[in-house]
């Protein structure tokens, strides 16, 4: 009975009170710790294979991207089709600062992350100020993505153009060693997960949920929709940047295709759609699954694009909420924070006589 009441009145208000207990803090951290432990074992499992470690490292980078995108799109519904570009802003930015600007790597990464975050926040702010709906936000961010890609080509002198950018800073250090690089990336991913989890439990997360469930109602109850959107974009974009910059320095070589729309955005979209838009661990599931699938299909070259295309169609048609929320909806009784109320619940019939 109380669950129906919860569903009828909306998840947010009642949920917050429940969530503040320390028990649920553990409930949030435990799965993250489990996942971290499992992922930490991967290098042992892969043996010494450099190729496979490279794949795993890239997989973690994508996990980072997916978490960032999850925060922007999953939490506040902003369709940012510029995931790769935001990561690239930090990737190229950090590389240029370190190699051409001579700044220390850590400083470069931090500045680059900041830059990416600011760009993301700016895009969100613009979208909010001009009241751009989802589609126009998508188009504008797509434009940003394409612009960035073309600038990379057009400003070849600074960026290395089509040939790419060989990053000399950090060469020979532990960064370029794949296994330490992997653990560094893993640490970042865990950090992102914890930040996302904490955000969801905070009043900011409450604002996100209210906004996503019903923007108009949220506005009326005093939730500053604009502010939460921009926060989400700032933090999410910063995550994208941090992952991108770190990946750049661990891999040592970046090119426009490292951060391209087809190479990053499409894949992240599929990963997140599969894992579950808005769920905490969805991005990890998506990243692991599709890194694996990508490896299996590596021999098929361009045909992988066919697979991704088909998956996008299948996922958005039949499992729009992703695997984790769908499974969660099946198992759980009360509505969880990460899941929209299942829409197959029939609305209470209200045929009052007279």
């Amino acid at each position: 009975m109380s669950s129906r009441l919860t569903r009828a009145t909306g998840t947010s208000l009642i949920g917050v009170a429940e969530r503040r207990s320390s028990r649920s803090l553990l409930a949030m951290l435990a799965p993250i710790a489990l996942v971290a432990a499992a992922l930490a074992l991967v290098p042992l499992w892969l043996g010494g294979s450099r190729v496979m470690m490279g794949v795993a490292l890239l997989g973690l980078a994508f996990a980072g991207y997916a978490i960032g995108f999850n925060l922007i799109f999953g939490s506040t519904g902003q369709l940012f089709l510029c995931v790769g570009a935001l990561a690239g802003v930090a990737g190229y930015g950090g590389a240029i600062l370190a190699d051409r600007g001579g700044l220390p790597i850590l400083v470069s990464i931090l500045l680059a992350t900041l830059a990416a975050g600011l760009v993301g926040g700016l895009l969100s702010w613009i979208a909010v100020r001009r009241s751009l709906g989802v589609i126009f936000t998508g188009i504008i961010t797509l434009i940003f993505s394409l612009t960035f890609e073309n600038l990379l080509f057009g400003l070849g002198q600074m960026t290395g153009g089509e040939a790419g950018f060989q990053i000399s800073s950090g060469a020979g250090t532990f960064l370029r060693e794949l296994t330490p690089g992997y653990y560094l990336m893993l640490a970042l991913v865990v950090l992102f997960l914890v930040v996302h989890g904490l955000l969801r439990r905070s009043h900011i997360g409450w604002g996100f949920r209210a906004l996503r469930d019903d923007g108009v109602a949220a506005e009326l109850t005093g939730v500053n929709v604009a502010r939460y959107r921009v926060y989400a974009a700032l933090i999410g974009a910063a995550m994208l940047g941090l992952a991108g910059a770190t990946y750049a320095f661990t891999r040592g070589r970046i090119s426009p295709t490292t951060f391209g729309f087809t190479q990053v955005d499409v894949v992240v979209l599929v990963m997140l759609a599969f894992g579950g838009i808005g769920s905490l661990l969805g991005p990890i599931l998506g990243a692991v699954t599709f890194t694996a699938i990508n490896e299996v299909l590596i021999g098929f070259g361009e045909l992988r694009l066919l697979a991704y295309g088909a998956l996008i169609i299948i996922l958005f048609l039949w499992i729009p909420r992703g695997v984790i929320p769908t499974l969660g909806g099946l198992f759980r009784r009360r509505p969880s924070s990460s899941v929209d109320p299942p829409d197959d619940t029939p609305a209470p019939a209200r045929r009052e006589p007279g």
């Binding site: 434009i143 600038l151 499409v266 694009l305 991704y308 088909a310």
Partner: protein, 285 residues
């Protein structure tokens, strides 16, 4: 300079034709067809294979146009069914995602199977002078065809009962239903038309430069840019925006390079969205 501008007009007419197909479908059905470029590429392949099989150029082109129309119909009957069940923003979003999926499928398949194929219709004969600038016959024929097509579209929508009926659905769908017009039927017709337009785009473009299997995404992006600038749902807007952006692009390309000229086009679209979202000739919602 004249040469650059004339080249720009040739390009701009192409842009207009590109956008026409996309903008009609969006304006009428609220559907964003990101697979438009791939539709053009598929029809180009149809024409190419026909010609490789020995079919002369003209009937091969006809075949391509028919293929385009059929593609549009197939779209309406299959991938767009679930899209029609949603309304407004949800519909646009789902159409965006599903057509993106289709675009990737097509691009992946074509690139894997026929990575080196390209359609190129050579129009023989020497250059013709326009305003003192020697223009290739291919460009001129392409522009002429495009002008005729755009003119035909304009007349169709202005002067025929069917054309008016289609416009009325764009204007007010419920009003159209209340006078006996079936919006779904009109949308189906428009989709077939946009398929034919995609084929026409491929064919005319191939008269100027080869259309290869990788051209799809670029075509879609240009179509999107011009559609946004011209306004959703208006062919005249597509034409106007096309020519303007074509000339701008041509001028920019010769002074600052192709990549950066594309950036300028992208910025034009972004500015339109920010300053006047309805586009040049679109309706203010």
């Amino acid at each position: 300079m004249t040469a650059i501008i004339l080249d720009g007009i040739v390009l701009g007419l192409q842009f207009g034709l590109l956008a026409a197909g996309l903008t009609l479908v969006y304006g009428l059905g609220g559907v964003l067809n990101l697979a438009f470029g791939e539709m053009a590429v598929i029809t180009a392949m149809v024409v190419l294979f026909a010609m490789e099989a020995g079919v002369p150029a003209a009937p091969a082109v006809g075949l391509g146009l028919v293929a385009g129309g059929l593609l549009g119909l197939v779209f309406d009957l299959t991938i767009l069914r679930p899209v029609y069940r949603r309304k407004h923003e949800a519909r646009v979003l789902l159409s965006l995602l599903l057509t993106l999926g289709v675009a990737f499928m097509v691009e992946g398949l074509l690139n894997w199977r026929y990575p080196l194929k390209a359609l190129s219709l050579q129009i023989g004969g020497g250059a013709i002078e326009i305003l003192g600038v020697p223009m290739r016959r291919g460009s001129l024929l392409a522009s002429a065809i495009t002008l005729v097509a755009l003119g035909g579209l304009f007349l169709f929508f202005r002067s025929t009962a069917l054309g008016r009926a289609i416009r009325s659905v764009i204007e007010d769908e419920e009003g159209a239903r209340l006078v006996g017009i079936d919006p779904h039927l009109m949308l189906r017709l428009i989709l077939i038309l946009s398929g034919v337009l995609a084929a026409l785009v491929a064919v005319t473009r191939s008269m100027v430069t080869p259309v290869n299997v990788k051209a799809g995404f670029g075509i879609t992006v240009f179509a999107l840019i011009v559609t946004v600038v011209g306004g959703l749902g208006t062919v005249s807007g597509a034409f106007l925006a096309g020519v303007i952006l074509g000339v701008v692009s041509s001028i920019a390309a010769s002074y600052i390079g192709t990549f950066l000229s594309l950036v300028i086009l992208l910025m034009a679209a972004a500015l339109t969205i920010l300053i006047r979202p309805s586009g040049l000739l679109g309706v203010r919602e």
